[in-house]
């Protein structure tokens, strides 16, 4: 394959050309309630060529038939030449790399019969159904993937990688009369078959939570001190802040540039944030990004001050900074764009108990059903919450929606505990039609001085 790609590359007349080819084996098994909904194995393959002529724009051609590779190299080059740009596109230098990174497959899922995968997820699904007859519906999915990946560029980089991935997810729906609640479990690992074993407890906990929420009151809307659990804190830093750190958002937009000026204070000295594509064994971890740049740990906020951002080769050249290894493509169907990898809030000090000891009345918001941001405005739906009363976690509450302004909220992060953990969840990040891209988030417990917690607002 390498030789085939290098031959095609040599035929390109563009000033810069790169070719990515992927072959992916996936299988998935889904249970809904007691019924197996689907069990299927697929194979997806294709490639993407990106070409750039001096003084021109990017030409991108993607395809599923490898026979078409030479023709698509020509097409990408032609598309590039059709676009004249006033302001030339430059690419920051990256030394050429040659690497064969065959990640440990940790039990190659391609050798495991579909029937065995079915037995595994059937057992996890059974854990949820066994919790109570109030659990009226479940959804449990096993998914695996092995991708063989080739990358060659006219800058001299030649890469070959094999990457495993495994995801397990469960949703339990509990119902009593008209009230419906759900509990979620989600696991995503850059591992193989062995990584999927012994995961039943998490599924059971999700179903127990759904049942418990049936009796929980909705949180009373208002402003409270809010403590985020590591899961929600991770989702928050990814969605609300991480996306603003992606330099493709910053470099052409003067307002964003001003908002994201390096050296600007974003929070109190307790706050440290970064993105680490080289952290071992996580879903967002890869040796190189999809432009052949090695991944790294990139500090974004250090002691409350903005110190960095995430780059592709193009955005790095534009802002006069160094590439950070954050140009990623969802698959061969897409060109790489600036993306996060494993994004984190750095560790603080003390325990969760220390964090809430002096909170008289507050909300402990846990796990996430979802989140969305629009520039500096965000909205997050916690999966569940607890009231904090007189320094202790108290009753379970539901419908905990956090809404606010990013900059105000970052600035109100007053304490961070020392219990950092990576949240190895499934799902992923969506941007510009490319999703879900595997990413990981990590954080300790985080305390926000005051935030708006939604619920129905009394008229």
């Amino acid at each position: 394959m390498k030789d085939r790609l290098l031959d095609a590359l040599r035929a390109s007349r563009a000033d810069y050309t790169e070719i990515r080819v992927e072959r992916t084996w996936t299988s998935s098994v889904t249970y809904r309630g007691r019924r197996l909904e689907s069990a299927t194995a697929s194979e997806d393959q294709g490639g993407c060529v990106r070409a750039l002529h001096r003084g021109c724009g990017w030409g991108v051609a993607s395809f599923t038939s490898l026979e078409r590779l030479p023709a698509m190299v020509g097409r990408a080059s032609e598309l590039s030449r059709a676009i004249r740009v006033d302001d030339p596109i430059r690419l920051a230098d990256v030394p050429p790399h040659e690497a064969d990174a065959l990640l440990d497959l940790d039990g190659d899922v391609r050798g495991v019969p579909l029937a065995e995968k079915k037995r595994l997820i059937e057992a996890y699904n059974g854990e949820m159904l066994a919790v109570s007859d109030r659990v009226v519906d479940t959804l449990a999915t096993y998914g695996d993937e092995v991708t063989e990946y080739w990358f060659v560029s006219s800058a001299g980089t030649v890469l070959h990688e094999v990457r495993p991935e495994i995801t397990l997810s469960g949703t339990a729906v509990a119902r009593r009369n008209g009230t419906i609640e759900k509990g979620l479990e989600s696991i995503g690992l850059r591992r193989g078959w062995r990584g999927a074993q012994d995961r039943g407890a998490g599924f059971r906990a999700a179903a127990e939570r759904a049942v418990a929420l049936l009796d929980a009151p909705g949180v009373k809307g208002g402003r409270y001190p809010v403590v985020l659990d590591p899961e929600l804190a991770g989702v928050f830093i990814h969605e609300a802040f991480g996306h603003l750190s992606e330099a493709d958002f910053i470099y052409e937009n003067p307002q964003a540039r001003e908002m994201m000026t390096l050296g600007r204070r974003f929070g109190r000295p307790v706050l440290n944030v970064g993105d680490n594509g080289a952290a071992p064994g996580l879903r967002g971890t890869l040796p190189f990004d999809d432009e052949g740049t090695p991944t790294q740990d990139t500090p974004l906020i250090r002691e409350g001050v903005l110190v960095g951002r995430l780059h592709s080769r193009e955005t790095a050249a534009r802002l006069g900074e160094r590439p950070t290894g954050n140009a990623r493509a969802l698959s061969f169907r897409h060109a790489p764009i600036v993306r996060m990898t494993n994004t984190y809030i750095g560790n603080g000090r003390g325990t969760f108990e220390d964090l809430i000891r002096d909170v008289k009345l507050g909300v402990y918001a846990c796990s996430a059903f979802g989140g969305q941001t629009l520039l500096e405005n965000f909205s997050f739906t916690a999966a569940y919450g607890r009231m904090i009363r007189d320094g202790h976690p108290a009753e379970l509450v539901k419908d905990v929606v956090l809404a606010g302004n990013l900059f105000q909220t970052l600035d109100r992060i007053e304490r961070i505990a020392g219990d950092f953990r990576w949240n190895q969840m499934g799902g992923g990040c969506g941007k510009a039609g490319q999703g879900p891209l595997p990413v990981t988030e990590g954080a300790p417990h985080v305390r926000i001085e005051e935030a708006l917690v939604g619920g129905d607002v009394p008229a």
Partner: protein
Amino acid sequence: MIERLLDEARRRARGADAIWRRVESTSVSFDWGRLKAAGATEEAGIGLRVVKDGRVGTAGTTAVVAAGELVDRALASADLGATVELALPAAAPLPDVPTHSDRAAGASLDDLIAIGRALLERLTRDGCQVSVAIGRDVSETRVANTAGAHAAYRTTAGDDVLMIGDGWDGCDLPPEDRLDALVRSITDRLERALRIVEPPEGALPVVFTPPGLAAILLPVTQALSGKAVLQGISPLVGRVGEEVFDPRFSVTDDPLRSGRAASRPIDDECVPSAPLPLVTRGSVRSFIYDLETAARANTQSTGHGQRGIFSKPVPGYTNIIIGEEARGKGEAVGELGGGLLGDMQDGLVVDELIGVGQGNVISGAFSHPVALAYRVERGEITGRVKDAAVAGNTYELLKKIGGFGNDDRWYGARHAPSLLLEGVSVARR
């Protein structure tokens, strides 16, 4: 390919159906006003479903594999599958629906660039960043089954999407008058957003524009899917014939709308297309089903099987038409608020919300910060509100609709007017 595959499957299973789809597309995007990239894709794949001993299995691929190998994989999947009595439809006459435009199919990269430049020129102004994306897809679909049904059709789609504002899509390239309407709509929204005002607070009348209706309608479309019925989570289950909504409210799914990107003569399981009234005069009439959900619910497929190359079919909508009876014809982008603001003392016009689709959607309860909303005072829009959130329950709010706007239009695959809803909870933050 599809014939050979079905021949092979026929020998080894009781029945089978398959979809083959090839998509060729070209797109250009102007990011923050600058044209920087053009893209082309060529993609083809095949999805197979087999029925053996009453069990269903699927397999899909974009790689070149022998028919036998794909059938092997589908049969392995069927070995594990639950039993279901799939009734593969026989050959039937198909309705005629235009889904192809020679103009869109023949459009060159330069044509797309020219449309983009013209839009940019008309939208550019000081202090604003404009992004435009234009795409053109040509796709060819073949569906067939071992019961003798088969069909092939071609579709084209053209669309352009603007980050700050609005979009258009259809089978053709956007005609001149639609582009005019798009420019007017965006300009209007932008100009009225320049002044920021304080949000009101309390239980207030709110006009949801056609794009703003997403949060209100999502619970309803989820609840009208046969899938939710089977799962026992649809609040509308067992309520066919009951007046659940305002008597002027209706919902229809119409796969035969001329020139719409979601239109098609046949669904992905060889069931011929037909319009389907789901809610009429406020009463629930029907749910959408594909072959499998229909078999499980002891009913007929409504022709809503939707299928990708790699997944089994699921019930999915085509073009959703919302409105009063006899509406659903409007094309004009009307005035913001759809003429519903006259009697409003204090309230909001909501055009976009943040976080739609999060949380326990199907229950009807929603709570979202606004992305784009305007304050209305004494019948006039006085400016944009930023730090506000709206909350309520779709089923409560749609029981009595305060008014239907005169601005019916397409937004994506949904056709709707603005709706005035009373007593929406509005909070500041």
